[in-house]
């Protein structure tokens, strides 16, 4: 091991850190996340050993860097070299004792700094419970971020309610003007506070991030819905356009709801396209949609509103302007 005696200090000041998760694990942890009482995150990185000791680096990491590290966008080398303090701690541990060294950033032994391509693999990352994180850069303005959160929440609420058999869809309104506003507001009221989406944090900078607190299981379904949209985007857009123009050609939006519903029901194209669209976008939610609401015309309006929200979210993800900290979008099948 490198001789670090000149950096020795008498006390290890980070002994109160609490283990959070392992980021690299093979026959024991090699890179782990630890948190302080004030929620500052430190990484503990294995770097060397001899017969008696294992040597670890302890260094601070900012959340915007941690998210990019686990996404595989920032290397371990980058987060060590550019860690926010001007020094880090190197600790030699055996089963009983601990030697601590305080080392300036420019004095870290070169052999302890990994290669330029020391990237983690997002598929091996176990995310934070009930937190969905997204990262972004550059041209985002705060209104666009609010819109991103709003659309994510609306899709989340739709999926939560449509998958919850105890919520009767006949109680949901689709009324005259601002129908979708009423509809999504009512949907939100059916999602329990402890399971619904809340904005946990926005770091409005470049690089920035957004953290949404929401139930992991339903968040996963929401991300899968976005992925399904991305996988079938051209077909979905085609069916949507056909249905949209068919409704327009028949002038259904200008008719009284009752008359529009009758005309929709009498038109084979409308019925077929609505069925196609709901099959492309919904899984279990089809029963929920078919089991309530007044008629297929209203149902088609609801599914089209849901689609537009998926489309907005997908457009952010497709062009990479937003990356969700989850391995779901990192497979070749999109």
């Amino acid at each position: 091991m490198e001789n670090l005696d000149r950096f020795k200090v008498t006390k290890f000041p980070l002994s109160e850190l609490e283990w959070s998760k392992d980021l690299i694990y093979f026959e024991g942890p090699l890179l782990s996340e630890y948190r302080s009482r004030n929620n500052t995150v430190y990484l503990k990185y294995w770097c060397d050993c001899n017969e008696n000791h294992n040597r670890w680096l302890y260094f601070k990491i900012q959340e915007q860097d941690r998210l990019r590290l686990v996404l595989g966008e920032k290397s371990i080398k980058e987060v060590i070299v550019n860690q926010p303090d001007s020094f880090l701690f190197i600790v030699d541990e055996d089963e009983v004792t601990l030697e601590t060294y305080m080392v300036g950033n420019d004095e870290i032994p070169k052999s302890y700094i990994p290669s330029d391509d020391s990237f983690l693999d997002i598929s091996e990352y176990i995310g934070d419970t009930n937190i969905t994180s997204m990262v972004f850069e550059d041209e985002w303005n705060i209104d666009l971020l609010k819109e991103l959160f709003k659309k994510f929440k609306q899709v989340f609420d739709f999926i939560y309610v449509s998958n919850n058999k105890s919520i009767n869809s006949t109680t949901l309104p689709w009324l005259g003007g601002f129908s979708s506003v009423h509809f999504y507001n009512t949907l939100a009221s059916y999602v329990p506070r402890d399971k619904g989406c809340k904005l946990e944090a926005i770091y409005y900078a470049s690089p920035g991030y957004m953290k949404v607190k929401c139930e992991t299981a339903n968040s996963d379904l929401t991300l899968h819905a976005i992925k399904k949209y991305l996988q079938n985007e051209s077909t979905i857009s085609e069916v949507y356009s056909e249905l949209y123009y068919r409704i327009s050609d028949l002038g259904l939006n200008q008719k009284l709801t009752k008359d529009a519903a009758l005309a929709f029901y009498s038109d084979n194209d409308c019925k077929r396209l609505y069925k196609e669209l709901s099959a492309l976008l919904l899984n279990d939610g089809i029963d929920w949609l078919d089991g309530g609401f007044d008629n297929d015309f209203v149902r088609s309006k609801i599914i089209m509103a849901h689609l537009r929200r998926l489309k907005t979210l997908s457009s952010f993800i497709r062009d990479g302007s937003v990356r969700v900290v989850d391995d779901i979008f990192f497979f070749d099948d999109i």
């Binding site: 026959e27 024991g28 052999s111």
Partner: protein, 139 residues
């Protein structure tokens, strides 16, 4: 089982899905092979594996890591080496190949990268069953 006393202290260890069967397997080792090449991490270097407050992987720490596929074992090692320069110092930098028989112990089902945990039977001596086939470390 080897380390029975330690295994007894951990609930459901070895895991219920571990089976005894015959398998050709690859293991990352130091050169030369010796009895320490087949000691589980919880025994060979307790100070590395027992991080303060770390999770519930104690059972796995009493098992040996193997791969069923040579290329996956090499790929895994190379990926680790990119992330940690001195990885060869703690897990070794060589690949050994051998055959585990049903009497040798219990194997967990292989994961996506063909890695599985192996819990040795009491009298198993794996150092005589395995041979180094490749140097993987660049260092």
């Amino acid at each position: 089982m080897k380390y029975q006393k330690d295994l007894d202290e951990i609930p459901s260890c070895p895991p219920q899905n571990a089976q005894s069967k015959s398998t050709e397997a690859y293991r990352i080792v130091h050169d030369p092979l010796c009895c320490k090449s087949f000691m589980p991490p919880g025994k060979i270097s307790p100070s590395r594996v027992k991080n303060k407050n770390s999770g519930s992987q104690n059972c796995s720490l009493l098992a040996l890591s193997f791969f069923t596929n040579e290329q996956e074992a090499i790929r895994h090692y190379k990926a680790l080496e990119k992330k940690i320069n001195n990885i060869h110092k703690t897990i070794g930098g060589y690949l050994a190949f051998g055959k585990l028989s049903a009497n040798d112990g219990l194997q967990t089902p292989p994961g996506r990268n063909t890695h599985f945990d192996f819990y040795e039977s009491k009298n198993t001596q794996l150092d005589s069953k395995f041979k180094i086939t490749k140097k993987m470390s660049e260092r």
